[in-house]
Amino acid sequence: MKLKTALMGAVASMAFAPMAYADGHEGERGRDGQLNIIYWQAPSIMNPYLSGGTKELEAASLVIEPLARYDTDGNLTAWLAEEVPTVANGGVSEDLTSITWVLKEGLLWSDGTPVTSADVKFSWEYCTAEGGGCAQSEKYLDVESVDTPDDRTVVVNFSVAKPFPYGPFVGAQAPIIQAAQFAECLGPRAPECTDENFNPIGTGPFVVEEFRTNDVITLAANENYREAGKPAFATVTFKGGGDAAAAGRAVHETGEFDYAWNLQLAPDVLSGMAEAGLGTNVVSFGTSVERILLNMTDVDPSLGEARGVIGNPHPFLTEKPVRQAMSMAIDRALLTEIGYGDFGRLTCNVLPAPAIFASDANDSCLTQDLEGAMAVLDEAGWVPGSDGIREKDGVRLSVLYQTSTNAVRQDYQALIKQWWEEIGIETELRNIDASVFFGSDPGSPDTFQKFFADVEMFTNNFDGTDPEAYMAGWTCDQAPQPENQWQGNNMPRFCSEEYDALRAEMATTGDIDERARLAKAMNDILMQEYIILPLTHRGRNSAHAVTLGGVQLNVWDSELWNIADWYRIGE
């Protein structure tokens, strides 16, 4: 629990420090001079509609903005809109087929012209234009039409009932672009508009001065930004390229940069860097969970074509006591400490966030219980054989445990193997190159979707904050099978009528509390049946200079979402 306390402390100080200082850091726009940001992957374009990459999304979020975005807790916050429409405030229609947004008053583009509802409508037209390869088209899925009754009002009509209507114009993936600038860039011409794509006119706190592809972006404060006295920085240099270690050193050890994004480094390496005293590591938790899946189907190679097919149940993993014992034997606190340090935390849920969706019904998994695990197996009739491996009716508890090749994962494998062998489950380890394991080649037997092993481990998460699509991944029809070319997210090939019923109910429920109840219930079924054994809730970590204030790491939206509020701590 020491770890948890430390983490809470870190999160709390991160959240409250800016508020405490905020008063002392009011002033005129551009008072704090220069800000240097390093992303070890370099942006190649400033238009998120033409790129699915995180680096482009985040760079563009300095310039162009959506109607609403997610805050650090994953809650929707009005951005260019007056407020977030809901059924309660009348913004979303009762039948869930339309949503009405109202723009803030007096919004200006950086060129001084007013922002109107026509620009919002144009953003939809731009992304859905015929012949254009829009990277964010799923955000505009099921949008039938966009009406503009007046200059500030936008009505989005959906062709189906949308319990979660916050796809279009929400989040860094779906910002508003200027109709006047992009009017000639619709459809197939979109990628040809180099000037527009590199220097979009936006409503954000900064405007592009110079864009060098895959290298450096120079930005200056937007003179027409809607809030007086913001941003505090007059110019921003956004450097791309290098690797995570170099970016970490640039902030922590040399102080050349003020902010470094997504430092995927071992916890002891990062804390070693931070000892230089110039930078601070920050972490924020999204929905990534490192988990173990237990296969419900038999994957014996001798079955040939019938491997992993639902008609062939697994010889012993279909017995709940075996799965339960496997879960009880794991010391999640130790795993997390070794693998992720402060950048991971304990969880007993496959759906650990946002907070309203996180169940607390499964917390017993937090403590390891080897004796208990052995007792559960004894009770179920699995007794140790001459070599210490448990068996029943001639079936030996012997599992093949696969994952991708990655130093932390191999450490996890070694530890878990030791615990499982202590309770009498023989474990054979296998690690597969990540490009093969996560590849979707239906011809390869080694993909995580085919899951031709008894146990497998990887991390998964979901985009945005609504877990419906994520939780729908474990319904019966989502099981990867030969008939569907091994596609689908239900890798354990778990099937429960109760679960499917809950999922069907969620698809027609609009009320947020009710949705949370359903999501928790579905999570609890997976946890209490021990189909998925969650191991570690993984955070995203970045680093910023100790002199940079106002940073609130956000995993639900662009990390630079509140850059308008960043400031230099007095020298």
């Binding site: 071992a266 390496v269 070693g272 190679p301 193997k417 380890l429 080694d446």
Partner: protein
């Protein structure tokens, strides 16, 4: 011993055979580097084979409380270092004993290295001699060599894994199955240099007077190759054999790292080395132990090859 073996029936043969090899040994003994190499190779082989019988610590047991133990010599300059006589070479970040890992890893690395090298040398020499000696086969065999030279090892092994892993695992168990796969994979992708070198030497030899003389008295090709050609191309073969052993050990390490090799709980020198690179600055010894084992073994084999070549070459031996 001499009067017992020197029977009157075959005095010449009995005297000739030991004396030739005695000569080679005599010559070899004079090569200081080769003797040092032989000494080290014997030492490391014994360390890996007999070692685990004396040092009975299971290499895969995790002991988290005793993680990150430094090697015992650290105590000389750092009195506060975490050291223990029970773990003379230290432990890794999960508390596994490094010494037993080096022993266990050495067994696998040496076995893979030797087997793959022998396989590669056999194929390489065969193809090289055939294509150098028989003009008719030359074109086809050399184009085949070019073809194999263009085969990338990694994709090839991926395909081999895909096709043969499960049958081999079922037939020989997970470790032996992978062993056969890796040895074959490395063997059949590293014989080409040997083949080319041998072919070149054989072609030059073929035109030499003693070969012409042998041919003029009607020596059949088989005898010609074994008696006159092979002994004379022994030195390049030895040299590529020593280089081949080094390459095989290193290739196996790279494969294990990519997850194409042995299971992750199955230590080899290369894998211990790769696993330690992340923490190289804080725990340099974890890189040094396997790194020294690999490089010294390779160096030793190189020196032995050097000494053997000198000793086997009659021109240098002075006969």
């Amino acid at each position: 011993m001499t009067d017992a073996s020197l029977t009157k029936d075959a005095p010449v043969a009995a005297e000739k055979v030991p004396s030739q090899w005695w000569d080679v040994w005599d010559q070899f003994r004079g090569h200081k580097g080769a003797m040092a190499g032989l000494f080290f190779l014997t030492f490391i082989t014994l360390f890996c084979t007999i070692g685990p019988l004396l040092w009975q610590v299971d290499p895969s047991t995790l002991d988290i409380r005793n993680k990150d133990v430094r090697p015992i010599y650290t105590a000389i300059w750092d009195g506060d270092a975490k050291v223990s006589w029970a773990r003379p070479m230290g432990t890794d970040h999960l508390g596994r004993d490094i010494m037993s890992n080096i022993m266990q890893g050495g067994r696998i690395s040496l076995a893979v290295g030797w087997t793959a090298m022998i396989l590669a040398i056999l194929i390489g020499t065969l193809i090289g001699v055939l294509s150098g000696y028989f003009k008719r086969l030359d074109w086809a065999l050399m184009r085949f060599t070019d073809l194999v030279l263009a085969l990338p090892l990694l994709p090839l092994l991926l395909v081999m894994m895909l096709l043969f892993r499960d049958p081999l695992r079922a037939a020989f168990g997970p470790e032996n199955g992978i062993f056969i796969l890796i040895v074959t994979g490395i063997g059949i992708t590293s014989w080409m240099q040997t083949a080319r070198i041998v072919r070149g030497d054989v072609m030059a030899l073929k035109e030499r007077e003693f070969v012409l003389a042998a041919r003029s008295i009607g020596t059949p090709p088989r005898r010609m190759i074994t008696r006159h050609v092979l002994p004379n191309v022994m030195s390049p073969i030895m040299v590529s054999a020593t280089l081949g052993l080094a390459t095989a050990i290193i290739t196996e390490s790279a494969l294990s790292f990519l997850g194409l090799g042995f299971p992750s709980d199955f230590p080899t020198w290369g894998k211990i080395l790769f696993d330690s690179v992340d923490r190289m600055t804080s725990f340099p010894e974890r890189v040094l132990w396997p790194g020294m084992a690999i490089s010294l073994t390779v160096l030793a084999v190189n020196y032995i090859g050097d000494g053997l070549r000198d000793a086997l070459d009659p021109r240098i031996r002075g006969l």
